[in-house]
Amino acid sequence: MNDLYPQISASLFQTLPILVLIVAGIGVLVADVLLPRASRWLLSWLSLLGVALAFIALDFVVGPAGREALPLHSYFGVLRSNYLVFLAQNLILAAGAFVILISPRYVGERRIPLGEYYGLLLLAVMAMLALAASTELLTVFLNLELLSITLYVLTGIENRNLRSGEAAFKYFLLGSFAAAFLLLGIAFVFGATGETRYDAIRQVLVDGTAQPRLLAIGFCLMLVGFGFKLSLAPFHMYAPDVYEGAPTTTASLIATGTKVAGFAALFHLIELAAAWSDAAGGLWLALYAVALASMIVGNVGAVVQPNIKRMLAYSSIAHSGYTIVPMVVMLQRPDLIADARDAVAYYMLAYTVMTLLAFGVPAVLGPAGESRIAQYAGLHRRSPMLACVMALAMVSLMGIPPTIGFFGKFQLFAVAVQGDHIWLAVLGVLASVASVYYYLRVIVTMYMEEPATAGEELESRRLDGVNAFALTACSVCVFLFVVFQSLYLFGV
């Protein structure tokens, strides 16, 4: 028994960021009860402090120790850390901090209960951190469910708004439906291999002693569960409704943090499946179809949406489709796993930055700016900075150089070309060309159209300091990483 202690204490140390967030989340819930009503505004700063401490724990306490011995395993191989996970966790924390920074005014206007909102937000971020690192079947399921349950509440938290309740209702029923598929898939993978830890499953797959049929069914069912969380095409039906009905701050967390965590977890699963020689057949075809369908459905669906949040929902479906392109390639070409990991990691970074910007503007504009795109007419005169930020997000989402969106997409499709999936790359590029239409429509509306009637005008809003800081930081990131990368490429 004694020899377990070093491993357990090492595991506790390696999961320090997660533990910090658990303490912070519960601390906020307790503080909500203890604080007098007048000083509840402290809660947002308290939760920001929690995220900041988790960030310090991740990058400066665990980080240096972790970097020496990658990949790290903690809790007997249940959680793993490698640089994809490390990057994903940093992005999730950044998304959490961004959402907390843009929340105070939004939450105040909507009369959302503060304690529950911030407490659940921290717990959702914690579940995302854990999900990104999960390399065990049951752990994946538990983290995915913890994430989902907190997000159901955060979606329906707006008491006076019927749309919020309806969105939560749809999210809840379809989400638990998909979770059941994931669970059955896990059962089949367990049944086929007799193991639940990824490293043990990999050994069974390499030995070739797994049950091929059970395994194929299991992986496909798990793909359904993940496809739902990542809003990939045949399973995307809920996404536009949820993004539209949920508070915009919650929607931005669903669109970024959940997806980043889901991509990291899906990448580990696909990496595992790539060790299985039969995966290049049926599973490859299934993933290929999902990637293609997401790119097409997302981009075609976004064109006809009059609502800004629904448009962004379809756009995020399309971006999920782009992101799994390297994973498709990986199944047939296991030799390209390292390149695929680089491409997915870079795109996660690009996607998070630009999607946070695109959701940040409607959240800052508040009720007047989160429904129809037509409301953005003439925004550049009333709020030049917000219009500029939104335009920047749209240009980056289109994938136009020199923004980060271009370099992200370039790497994804470069992996596809390298791995003999030329058609997938061609279709992906065509899909993103089609996307220019609806992103450009937002820019045209903001800069070249005038509001049709006086009622259509957006009230001009002064940015408060924290909002401005969050948006500026993200805007700088759209270019900053590109500069870093160029310096790196040219060996400066």
Binding site: Y152, E166, K170, G191, Q211
Partner: protein, 101 residues
Amino acid sequence: MEFMVPGNLILAASIFTIGVFGILLKRNAISIFMCVELMFNAANLAFITFAQSLGRPEGVAVFLFVITVAAAEAAVGLALFIKIFNDKETIEADTLDLLQR
């Protein structure tokens, strides 16, 4: 390794299918949620069957975790249904059509 499909697995698959069809056909939120629970339990049954036939105890542990998760989900779900019922006096899924307009 020869693998026999045990009767339990067929039972689990049938229950799961009943759950899926129930969700597709039912319109009442409580009925839909009961079908989801049916699917969860079918997956549990599959887990225990595999654990039994492979001689691995992990499957039973999974079952305990899943029951806990399902209970947490039911708590959130029922609260949500009550909220919807207070607003609309019904929890038929078809009556929720505010979004997408």
